[in-house]
Symmetry: C2
Subunit: 368 residues, 2 copies
């Protein structure tokens, strides 16, 4: 399945903080076909530094999508049955308008003049995309991590347009610890002199700071167990006293490699904006309580967490489930056993696939 | 109790990797009095960025010691009964020889030419200090975190000289995750252009990189719970849409403050050396197994861990206890309930005090 990324363009979008971005573009991919009743559309929401390329092989890069093990013919999000859309996020850097986009008012990249963006703003732009495709109701909104936040926001902001919602390995608001990890990443970027107040486009980007930020991320994505299994204390071809401040342990080599690799594909300012969007995300804010936020929801929910995920611990999913149950919503919850930490929703998908597949089938049965 | 820091000076020390440092100085403080039998000396080993000022009020800075709640008249380490010594560590920057010390061969600071230092090297220098004080046997060696590693190394390297050993909130070797967190801190420092290969003495030090490194540390020292209790999601005097990339959340403000404060008291190169010492620490290495490492120990052990410490999780203490029990050593183990994460051994000391006090008293009873 060779896929291509598409771009939708809109005149403008008004954000939660009142600012307007004009014009605004959003990158997306689609897999499978929309049925005549337009009742089989599923919107996949990506995590933090993800992109619109969720499945298939990219025509441009020849790489598989980030959730290719979940989306495709016969897979959990079965493209023989469903029309699957994956949209990139506002303030990102993979084809959707963000700080690296050119501000038509100045002819230069927005950089830090780009307005602060919320999860609600990301979802608003996705709604414009879905509108433009002539889709009234989404059979499902689904995503892990920051994608789960968007899925929740969809169900709350546009209750009449979501038949079912699958928030995975996510939270309804960031804890102090989650904010703290993001803040360290931001500080690492802003401490790099090449960041230059965000004005580095066309110059040397803050590569070292961004790499350090990404290293912090990678530690939090894995579990103590999965790191031990993958790296242990193995040394990189040195004897016990050959040590120095070059790479000694394999885990160091991995972190440096992933950190440096990330620099080539992600914009540092987008890192700042997307982490802030997550930190500000709070479904209860301005709505009284989490339960009150869910009041008008009509969607069925499948909430999934993972036992070894310490970045988005299971108790955060249980809080979502409690609030939904308190409002008498239809909600299924599973805390899956997995050793892969937060990465589980991306890499340990056997049980998750069965759950998602069954949940979608029973939901689709009802709306057909 | 006004205390002053002392310095002992030795002609030279030969390190595990064969290098010699000459001369070598070590900073230490003492509290209480050595009894005529010289049988009441306790050596306190400090954590990572600690120093020799463990108790009392510093004559120089007017500040209380870092374990003043544990050491003093009538306290757990009762200075009415015991002669308590706290020694700073080799490769540190608080009065003991390290990378910021002047290399007599060049007249300039060692910087990164200082030899890589191990926990064993730190302990060897402490042994020289104890020798110089005419103390044959230590009633106890005790410390938390990196201090616990030194306590273990003492019991293993100098078994005939340690009557009891109290490793607290520590491990016998770093896991891949613990190495990874340290590596992120090192990378943050080395990514700062002011680090300049370690040659920043007399110039601008890598303050931004060091601050970021310290922020990572502070997150790992606290628990998810203690961060929530201390900060929650409280904003710093802004309304919901006043947000920007300045400090928004109180937890951000705290991390920045602590990060910047740290820069004024700690040397970035010492940060690199002490983290490497911890990462290389492996009691089993070169000794066959952990149990084999403990073979010649004569000490009694009191091992303490904390339920919410995810940086040095309780399973690491249990591994120490299992190995000791397997060798038929006298070992008591308590996993204390506490919400303060790794910081518990510093801040939540009520139960710890009782345990330590009773264990020391019964040990002292036997040797008198």
């Amino acid at each position: 399945m060779i896929v291509e990324v598409n771009t939708a363009r809109f005149d403008s979008i008004t954000l939660d903080n009142g600012a307007t971005v004009a014009p605004v573009e959003v990158a997306y991919e689609t897999y499978g076909a929309l049925n005549p009743a337009r009742s089989n559309a599923i919107l996949i929401l990506h995590a933090w530094t993800g992109d619109a390329h969720a499945a298939g092989i990219s025509h441009e890069t020849a790489k598989p999508g980030w959730w290719d093990n979940m989306i495709g013919p016969g897979k959990a999000f079965d493209t023989n049955k469903y029309f699957v859309i994956c949209s990139n996020v506002l303030s990102g850097c993979n084809g959707t308008t963000g700080p690296s986009s050119v501000d038509p008012a100045t002819g230069c990249p927005y950089a830090m003049t780009f307005p602060v963006t919320t999860i609600g703003d990301m979802v608003r732009l996705q709604r414009m995309l879905i509108d433009s495709m002539g889709i009234e109701r989404l059979l499902a909104v689904a995503g892990g991590s920051m994608g789960g936040m968007q899925a929740l926001e969809w169900a709350v902001d546009y209750p009449e347009r979501v038949v079912c919602c699958l928030p995975i390995a996510t939270t309804w608001r960031h804890s102090a610890q989650q904010i703290a990890f993001n803040e360290v990443g931001r500080q690492a970027i802003m401490a790099d002199p090449d960041w230059n107040g965000g004005n580095y486009y066309g110059k040397q980007p803050p590569a070292r700071g961004l790499a350090v930020a990404r290293m912090v991320g990678h530690i939090t994505f894995m579990s103590d167990d999965s790191m031990r299994e993958k790296f242990g204390r193995r040394l990189r071809g040195k004897d016990a006293f050959g040590f120095d401040f070059e790479v000694d342990f394999e885990v160091e080599s991995y972190l440096r490699y992933r950190g440096n690799q990330f620099v080539s594909r992600f914009d540092a300012n987008s890192y700042l904006y997307t982490t802030k969007a997550m930190d500000y995300f709070d479904l209860a804010a301005g709505r009284g309580s989490l339960a009150a936020a869910f009041e008008k929801c009509t969607a069925r929910f499948l909430v999934i967490s993972f036992s070894s995920d310490w970045l988005y611990p299971s108790y955060q999913s249980r809080e979502i489930v409690s609030a939904l149950r308190g409002m008498n919503h239809d909600v299924a919850y599973v805390d899956l056993e997995s050793n892969y930490g937060h990465d589980s929703f991306l890499v340990d998908v056997a049980e998750q696939s069965q759950l998602v597949s069954g949940f979608l089938a029973s939901t689709f049965e009802k709306v057909r």
